[in-house]
């Protein structure tokens, strides 16, 4: 009888240790950081691209005004036009506050999106949005500095689509990263985030 109690006691101790170890790894101090990366400050970014007007651009030029950056491609039928529409509506809602705001769309599809293609595409949205086009090496560098991912996915018919980070990145006027607006966030969540980024020092 005592030995039965003893083995039951040992089993309970063993299970308790296992649970504690699991907690430590998953939720406790042993928890690994989220893989999601945070962009470096715009002042520390060094890459060149061409904007939709055909002029050379550099992230340093954005410093001095609050900045909104997002990634996409013009062959994207659902997420990208929806994000561009959201951004256009936020800009209208912000009124004068949006006058001192850089808004940059960086294409993740340099193969199909040249300067003219991006210019034509953006002509359908709020003119505050500027398009940036880089070559593959420039895009890789930008993606690293912004901490975003993009991946070409073949659709099996000779065409392809690109899975990419869909959030909108906000930077303060001094170039420091402030916060992101995720794809599914509502206008009620997005507008205060942009305002805070514009006005905080």
């Amino acid at each position: 009888m005592t030995s039965a109690f003893k083995s039951a006691g040992i089993a309970i101790c063993f299970v308790t240790v296992l649970i504690a170890f699991g907690w430590w790894q998953v939720d406790g101090p042993g928890k690994k950081d989220e893989p999601r990366n945070i962009p470096v400050s715009l002042t520390n970014m060094d890459f060149q691209m061409t904007n939709h007007l055909g002029l050379a651009v550099h992230p340093r030029e954005l410093v001095g005004m609050p900045t909104m950056v997002f990634f996409g491609f013009t062959f994207c039928p659902d997420i990208c036009p929806t994000t561009l529409n959201d951004i256009s509506s936020w800009i209208s809602a912000l009124g004068d506050d949006a006058k001192s705001l850089n808004v940059v769309f960086i294409t993740v599809d340099p193969e199909r999106d040249n300067v003219d293609a991006v210019a034509e595409y953006l002509s359908y949205f709020n003119p505050t949005v500027k398009g940036w086009v880089g070559n593959q090496a420039q895009l890789r560098e930008a993606a690293k500095l912004f901490g975003i991912t993009y991946k070409r996915v073949e659709t099996g018919d000779g065409e392809y689509t690109i899975d990419h980070t869909s959030g909108v990145y906000l930077f303060r006027a001094d170039g420091r990263f402030a916060r992101t607006i995720d794809y599914h966030e509502s206008r009620e969540q997005a507008l205060p985030k942009i305002k805070r980024t514009i006005f905080e020092r």
Binding site: P35, R36, T74, F75, P77, D78, I79, P81, T82, L84, N85, D86, S88, E120, Y121, Y124, F125, T149, V153, T155, D157, E159, T161, D163, H164, T165, S166, G167, T180, D182, Y183, H184
Partner: protein, 160 residues
């Protein structure tokens, strides 16, 4: 002879009355039980880039209905896709082979979710115009519906 023909007439009448109800009990035509509303397509940039169409479907019947595809007069290829965004914020689009509608169920095709991808456009989708498409069902039936074309920046059927 007269007796026989009367009998035959009774049988024929019986079959004529019973046949449709027997058939309908076995074969529900899926397209007839589906209601389509709030359809719209996003205007395209030329014909080179794909665009998307959206709608709301309701299963008014008492059986499961399966949508197996879509055909469109304006696109060489059309298919149902679903957009999803991962925990890391990465957006993905995947083709969907079948969409199931439970009895009484409603499914909204909307930006960031289910949508109809329109590829290989025969002509550009121009804002203010309208086009038509058909949903195809498991039983081979089709449901034709008209699709107003809204601006590239539209977000729902009510948007300008």
């Amino acid at each position: 002879m007269r007796y026989l023909s009367l009998n035959a007439r009774v049988i024929a009448t019986f079959i004529a009355i019973m046949l449709p109800s027997v058939l309908s009990a076995q074969e529900v035509i899926q397209s007839e039980l589906v209601q389509v509303s709030s359809s719209w397509a996003r205007a395209s940039v030329g014909t080179m880039r794909p665009t998307a169409a959206y709608l709301t479907v309701v299963n008014t019947g008492e059986q499961m209905i399966t949508i197996t595809g879509v055909v469109s007069e304006i696109a060489g290829r059309s298919s149902i896709h679903e957009t999803s965004v991962s925990a890391e914020g990465v957006g993905t689009m995947k083709p969907v082979k079948e969409v199931h509608l439970s009895p009484g169920g409603t499914l909204e095709f909307k930006p960031g979710s289910y949508h109809i991808m329109l590829m290989e456009l025969n002509e550009p989708l121009l804002e203010g115009a309208s086009t038509s498409m058909s949903l195809m069902f498991e039983d081979g039936s089709q449901k034709l519906f008209s699709v107003p074309i809204l601006s590239i920046g539209a977000r729902s059927a009510d948007a300008k």
